[in-house]
Subunit: 345 residues, 4 copies
């Protein structure tokens, strides 16, 4: 059994880790920290876990995280980099669901997150945790920077095209839409029910942290300079993410060949579902599961390819992907504990 610790288990990615790990057959949940909730049984905060999770939150000083085999950070940016060195020194693997170990470009990190990066040694060995594009490195990693939710959809949607060199890397557009849980479990006016339901809006249009993360990763797939325009929107739904990707084709290529490109790229991937050409995937078809689904469209048979990508932002976009990485790091079957059937309706 893998002994697992969670730092910061009171937010949505934390409770989603608990939901997944509580039925993972190879995991023993050892410690979960919260400064504020020390001593509170986890199931008192989250009644959905009554009878499923027996442990209590403990304050960081009491939790014996160094006895764990792996520690997940479901914390604000900056926490993992402060604690990782000690854990690594004790032989504990680290999976950070925040941004501390996502961006190798430290200047970009500091620009977008507004804090200095205090742990650049560890950053150098950190592995970007997107298994479909980075599986081998994840298997041997000690530190994982788990991808952002939006970046996961953008990368898996553009990757086969960039690798094959069939699109113009310099004019990518990603018009993305996320459920409100992506904003976290924070007491903020803007995400109140009465503010965020029965309405729709864009945010961060002039610039968003997920642009440099995605660009850095996409650039690894092509020699051409990548230019990405990313527009996030807030959808009045709890979970779910839908990315509508636009790419200019630069070669003469048939729809069949494009479809084959994606089917080949993901033919061995259990968590990426390439739907028939012209499908319209719905976010709910992935709800509460680790599936990502995508489909291609070519309106008017023109030069622009549209790729529709959906996932559950809290699972494949966060906690499920983190567990997928953990499985790889510990030599388990990649789908262990991740075979939930999406909840529909």
């Amino acid at each position: 059994m893998i002994k697992v610790g969670i730092v910061g288990g009171t937010g949505y990615t934390g409770v989603e880790l608990l939901r997944i790990l509580s039925t993972h057959p190879e995991v023993e949940l050892t410690a979960i920290t919260s400064r504020k909730e020390d001593g509170l049984p986890v199931a008192d905060m989250y009644p959905s876990l009554r009878g499923k999770v027996g442990i209590a939150f403990s304050s960081p000083d009491k939790a014996k995280l160094t006895d764990c085999d792996v520690v997940f950070f479901a914390t604000p940016h900056g926490v993992a980099m402060a604690q990782a060195p000690e854990l690594l020194a004790a032989g504990v693997k680290v999976i950070d669901l925040a941004a501390d170990f996502r961006l190798q470009d430290v200047a970009q990190f500091e620009k977008w997150y507004g804090i200095p990066h205090t742990c650049q040694d560890v950053l150098k060995e950190a592995v970007y945790g997107l298994p479909e594009l980075n599986r081998d490195a994840i298997k041997t990693a000690r530190v994982i920077g788990n991808p952002g939710c939006y970046p996961t959809t953008m990368q898996l949607g553009f990757a086969p095209l960039l690798k094959a060199g069939v699109i113009d890397a310099g004019s990518l557009i990603a018009d993305c839409k996320s459920g409100v849980s992506g904003a976290g479990r924070k007491a903020e006016i803007g995400i109140l029910f009465s503010e965020a339901s029965d309405t729709f809006k864009a945010y961060g249009v002039s610039g968003h942290r997920h642009t440099p993360e995605t660009t850095e990763q996409l650039q690894r797939l092509t020699a051409e300079p990548v230019e990405l325009l990313f527009t996030p929107h807030l959808v009045p739904m709890i979970r779910g993410m839908h990315s509508t990707l636009y790419a200019k084709l630069k070669t003469d290529i048939s729809n069949e060949a494009l479809q084959a490109l994606f089917e080949d790229a993901y033919k061995d991937e259990e968590f990426v579902d390439v739907m028939p050409f012209g499908s319209h995937p719905e976010t709910r078809s992935t709800r509460a599961s680790n599936m990502l689904r995508l489909a291609l469209h070519r309106p008017g048979n023109g030069k622009t390819l549209v790729i529709l990508v959906v996932q559950d932002n809290l699972v494949k976009g966060a906690s499920g992907q983190a567990v997928q990485c953990m499985n790889l790091m510990f030599g388990l079957a990649e789908n262990t504990g991740l075979q939930h059937v999406p909840v529909m309706p």
Copy 2:
């Protein structure tokens, strides 16, 4: 492996059966019928099941239901009673999620459902499928009338009190609220998104089919005549049911004793969670799981006890309960394939 057939798999209780059964370790999904969708792979209608359910719908005449060990009817009222005799003769067990085998009082059935009961022989041996109140009979049953969603909450909420004789059976009030999926997957104006969201209403207040069903069952628990006033409402949410039950205490009894009554009644029940006195259970704490949670209140320490009961109407209120019955009928552990952790948020 239990060979399972489903009649009428295109509605919400049908697709929920598929979600649950597709990961049930002792079940082989053998046949699923739909007159209209003959030949269509199930996963084409429900993309959430892509990669999880491989079979296609077949028309009733082609489906070899008599080769199954058990057949679930997720159909409109009246279908199961037409097909049950042939299946039973072939040694197939029958679990009906509609009302054909719920009411032993045929006159009540015919009054409320508006069709003649054509299968009264089978009805006589049919067992009401509420395991917590009827477990032994279910174990040996050949035919199950699976309880309605509202009746499940009302019975499990009132039962310990009626059995103990501490409330006035003649003045029960149940003010109940259901998510919209309870109305089924039918093309009707009233349950369109634009009609049923951002609004709230009662329906069927002057009379509803679930009153006679619940009364008949509650009457088995007490010699006093049961009088139940049941008011259903429609909530703008997909899944979930919340019943607010009012009962007049007729004896002098402490809150501690009342709480103990419930804790004793359900101490061995995995799917009934008695929360601390004064709790406010939320429907989402049961979402996509077979859990039912309840809590007691006694406002102003007066003579009226309020019992709050929540469940997922499609799981404990329908398909999960049906699988729970199947497990009992086939000698499996009652929780086999039913250990989903509720999805929250």
Copy 3:
């Protein structure tokens, strides 16, 4: 033109006052205070008011409230009582949308609101602002305690029955459901979109402030001791309130006579709509309007009468009702500025 001031205009009842008053033909919006937002144009916080409301928030010390004819308090409990004496001394009328002037029983006020009542002289002359039951007193009032949202529905639903003496005043039950905007515009976890959507729960079941307020008012209508059991619930919708009221009939009375009782009681009331016997009013049929609709049911033709009452909690349940009072206090037609057609769908 009536010069109007608003204290605390950043919450939902404040912005709803602004929506209504900005098109009220007899009103000039003079001042709106907010300590935190001093100098901010109102329309910058509420873009829905761009081009409709030109003034800016000003801090309480700068706002010349004593120059107004009337001041509305859309503030937390306790604010109005601190400022009312000075305004009244200056000849300004006061309408408080919070609880400071609702309860004549000071002990009850202090018990339920947890603050001392510091303004009992003013309280004595304060008038409870429910026009349908208290019109004459409102016309000559200097201070109005505007009713709570739930109490409005309970009073207008029970009043004709209590006045006529046909129900048992000692066993009233009110099972009430409110949209989330009723909880206000506060940064609290519990009313986040991801916490309050796609779920349903009760709250405050063991005791709620609106019970003593409603009981005090209902008691004015009957010599029998009133006992009220009130259970509030939170509905995943923005606006709207639905109260399901249960009353025991103590006399032999026909449904026609009961219906006539209500039609007579409200025949001259523009804002109370008595629907046909057996109707199921929906909250959305009152959305964004000052209408309250109700309908009677008598399940099984028994001894319990069910009254269904709906309103928009922010309009008839708060700001609309306050403007209705203002119209009466200034001798205007009662419906001035309040003739919005409900927004449907």
Copy 4:
């Protein structure tokens, strides 16, 4: 008073016309037709209109539409073209909210709507009813083709840029999102609450009717060939439309100059609100009003301009715009009866 008839008043654009017209000071509602609902008081179908609209539906043969001054068609495509000639001959003006008189290119109409255009004479004189771009022609029109909801946002968002010649007309992208009411009030599975809430999807990505309509109109603004890629999505909200428009700048132009372009274009428009550069308009800021709001963004100060446009799809996107046209056609102030303050929250 203008005598108004409505054909097909049972859908959402019909009931929205009723909401608006019932308080329009210059309108007398004369007739409203529905084959199915002949004799039914309008307020029985739409309780929101109780006390506001007194007339009943009448079957088309009984309704004296030729006595009206103007008739609105809130019907499926094809109805208006069948009835317009007779009405015009009788001197009645016609405003069609469907597509019969939107597209001058008959071949395109027949391709996308799948029916022959049987009324091409009338089509020739029909005027496209977008007042901000076509006001003078509307004033003297006898027949109006009221714009589609999506096309309204796309045209008002792209128009100032195309007129000024600062963007590449050949690579326009419009990623648009609509509330579910845009799909109409039809009994269809896909728009049930349980299918369309808590999820998000695109539809019609390979081709949609609003592309040729929008292209035809935009082409009138520029000599360059217009190429538009339009991707519609369904948002789990009732009302509201958000269009995210992408345009490639082809000249060196400052953000200030771009903003000025829009402010100049719409400086006299009461229903178009140009928000400050970099704003994020929300659909709810226009809810139940005839306002359209837009804002400009230039991510990374690059070559692509992003224009965010919001409106209420049923008002500025349909019935409000139709009334705006009517006001122009009858010489009234353009905003008569259209001054609703958006409902927020």
